[in-house]
């Protein structure tokens, strides 16, 4: 984990991430018009998840953070998952009834 000490080193770390993010943005935009049927939502949110992971891991430096900080970030995700899962247990089973 060597810290960059020149401006060039800083840009060498962050520019590739940015290029990846922009490429994914272009793909998402293009695929939005593709006839993917029921997969469109999964694809567009899947790309968004990938972009968010790149931002979190590389821009926000989770990849080199301590275990405690990564656990904290994971807790936010896990608890959101509880919220979604149990609510949808109700929402979906009511949908299939009507």
């Amino acid at each position: 984990m060597s810290a960059p000490v020149s401006a060039g080193a800083v840009w060498r770390r962050v520019l590739p991430v940015w290029l990846g993010l922009m490429a994914l943005l272009a793909v998402a935009c293009a695929l939005a018009y593709a006839p993917l049927g029921p997969w469109t939502a999964a694809v567009s949110f899947g790309i968004a998840t990938t972009q968010a992971a790149l931002v979190a891991l590389l821009f926000m430096r989770l990849i080199e953070a301590s275990a405690l900080i990564r656990l904290t970030a994971a807790c936010g995700l896990f608890w959101s998952a509880i919220l979604f899962t149990l609510t949808f247990a109700d929402v979906l089973s009511r949908l299939t009834r009507s």
């Binding site: 405690l68 919220l83 149990l86 609510t87 247990a89 109700d90 929402v91 089973s93 009511r94």
Partner: protein, 565 residues
């Protein structure tokens, strides 16, 4: 008992003062109002919170008094229907968000957390002060709602009534709660960071007092549940005041979704109201039984389990809402599961008393009352977790009695227990013990007289939130309202004698109860920097006797210890 002090006591602030060896306490470090209102000392902020929390307690109590006065008779003779709705809403909103949720964490937690772990202050002292201001501003905003005519939706402000039909100051009221939510999130962040990072050398996780574990687990709930409430409030305000369709069924919105979002927060919120009290009980019961806590590790696991599993159970508030029965079954099962760690705690507290030298000092009276009342409240919670029973008693006084047994019988008892136990530490004064014992016993009787008849009334079918009821319920209501009068007296008594003790009470020594815990290893009240030198921890908590051995009964039960320095 198990600490080492490295340096000599601090010098006096005024060099001309005769050095009696008495250190300057946090209370005298700055005497102006400004020094109090801009202090980042966690102890002073705890006192500020104690004042605001007490004020809110009596406002919420005043609303409850009017409610119970009205319910003496089956007819509407004291207040009209709209006013009654506003009264119970005020009672709920103030008591839940401005008394119970902040009470123990922001008063005892703020004061004691750094002391118990051997730290100088919380991790982010300025954030702590900001947290108090946010709480007060939130309270003022909600008070504005009261002045603007009140809110009549109930503290749960269900949609579509709160968004579409209520003509009262709902938006202002819930915005006050929104602001105070940030206060609790900030406190949670502070407590979590402090517990992780500022423990004294030797204070490992499994040497922490259970009160610290209670503050830590409560803070996890603060941080993860409160934001969902914040968003729910925004959705309600957006629909009500900005005209955006959110839950409106006419536009295809789903009112049950509101309930999911609301209870995702509000069920863990009741654990916010419960866990800190459990921490206090563990501290007090060990001291006055002169025993180590039974099963320390499982007490810790139980706190964590309640905090985590409590997030999975919110649907049990919605069994009669039209929610899907499959989801209801899942929530019912999980609600039974969450009772297990609570029961473990009750068994362990009881086992802690075994072979102890149990005394009945006033904090212990409150704690013994807690255990009994919490058991009743917890068992009736199990009844409510069972769907068939819940369908019968939902929205009746049975539910009201259940949650008051927990929130008032348990949590408020714990609050008073802690108040008495740590009063010498906070103020440097002892309170009159006889008055305190009397108030504790009076409170126990008044509480049961108030709320036990409500179980019966509810089971027999009396609905909640009604000011007019069929005459066959009157006997239970009269009992309940009479009990409320006794309870009110029992709450006013501590206000009286504790205030008296501030001026006339005997000076307290460092450790009047001969208790374990780092907070008793410094003066009463502590100096601004908490400790003289840096404490280090050498042993486990609650070392009232050697591990694995029963305590010897050949010494005085509570030998007085410590001096004024």
């Amino acid at each position: 008992m198990s600490t080492r002090v490295a340096e000599s006591p601090a010098s006096l602030a005024d060099p001309d003062e005769l050095a009696l060896g008495l250190p300057e306490s946090y209370l005298s470090a700055g005497g102006t109002l400004g020094s109090w209102l801009t202090s980042t000392d966690h102890k002073r902020i705890a006192i500020l919170y104690a004042l605001s929390v007490t004020l809110f307690f009596f406002i919420g109590g005043a609303a409850a008094t009017l409610v119970r006065l009205e319910l003496f008779t089956p007819q509407a003779d004291l207040v009209g229907a709209d006013t009654y709705n506003k009264l119970f809403t005020l009672h709920g909103v103030i008591m839940v968000w401005f008394f119970l949720i902040p009470s123990i964490p922001t008063t005892f937690g703020n004061f004691l957390l750094p002391l118990m772990i051997g730290a100088r202050d919380l991790a982010f002292p300025k954030l702590n002060l900001a947290s108090w201001y946010l709480n007060v501003i939130g309270g003022l905003i909600t008070a504005t709602a009261v002045l603007a005519g009140g809110i009549d939706t109930g503290w749960t402000f269900y949609v579509p009534y709160s968004t579409t039909f209520s003509n009262t100051a709902v938006t202002i009221g819930v915005l006050g709660v929104f602001v105070s939510g940030f206060s609790t999130i900030a406190t949670g962040v502070n407590f979590i960071a402090t517990t992780h990072l500022l423990r004294a050398p030797g204070m490992t996780w499994f040497r922490l007092p259970l009160f610290v574990w209670a503050m830590y687990t409560t803070s996890i709930i603060f941080v993860l549940a409160t934001p969902v409430l914040a968003l729910t409030i925004i959705l309600v305000v957006a629909e009500r005041s900005l005209g955006l369709p959110i839950f409106d069924p006419a536009k295809g919105g789903d009112p049950i979704l509101f309930q999911h979002l609301f209870w995702f927060y509000s069920h863990p919120a009741v654990y916010i109201m419960l866990l800190p009290g459990m921490g206090i009980v563990s501290e007090v019961i060990t001291c006055f039984a002169r025993r180590r806590i039974f099963g320390y590790d499982f007490m810790v696991y139980a706190l964590v389990a309640i905090a985590v599993i409590g997030f999975f159970t919110w649907g049990h508030h919605m069994f009669t809402s039209g929610m899907s029965p499959y989801a209801a079954l899942i929530f019912s099962f999980l609600s039974f599961v969450v009772a297990v760690p609570s029961a473990i705690k009750v068994f362990n507290w009881t086992a802690t008393l075994y072979r102890g030298q149990v005394g009945f000092e006033s904090p212990m009276l409150y704690v013994l009352g807690y255990i009994g009342l919490f058991t009743v409240g917890g068992l009736t919670g199990l009844f409510l977790a069972s769907i068939p029973i819940d369908v019968h008693v939902q929205d009746t006084y049975f539910v009201v009695a259940h949650f008051h047994y927990i929130m008032v019988g348990a949590t408020v008892s714990a609050y008073f227990a802690g108040l008495h136990f740590w009063w010498p530490k906070f103020t440097g004064r002892m309170y009159p013990e006889t008055w305190a014992k009397f108030a504790a016993v009076l409170m126990f009787f008044g509480f049961n007289l108030t709320f036990f008849p409500q179980f019966i009334a509810g089971y027999l079918g009396m609905p909640r939130r009604y000011h007019v009821y069929p005459p066959e319920f009157q006997v239970w209501n009269v009992l309940s309202s009479s009990g409320a009068a006794v309870l009110a007296a029992a709450y006013l008594m501590p206000l009286g004698y504790l205030t008296w003790s501030l001026f006339f009470g005997a000076r307290a020594v460092n450790d009047p109860w001969n208790a374990s815990g780092l907070e008793w290893r410094t003066t009463s009240p502590p100096p601004r920097v908490n400790f003289f030198g840096r404490p280090a921890v050498l042993a486990k908590p609650y070392n009232y006797h050697p591990e694995g051995a029963a305590p010897l009964h050949d010494e005085p039960r509570i030998p007085s210890q410590g001096s004024l320095t």
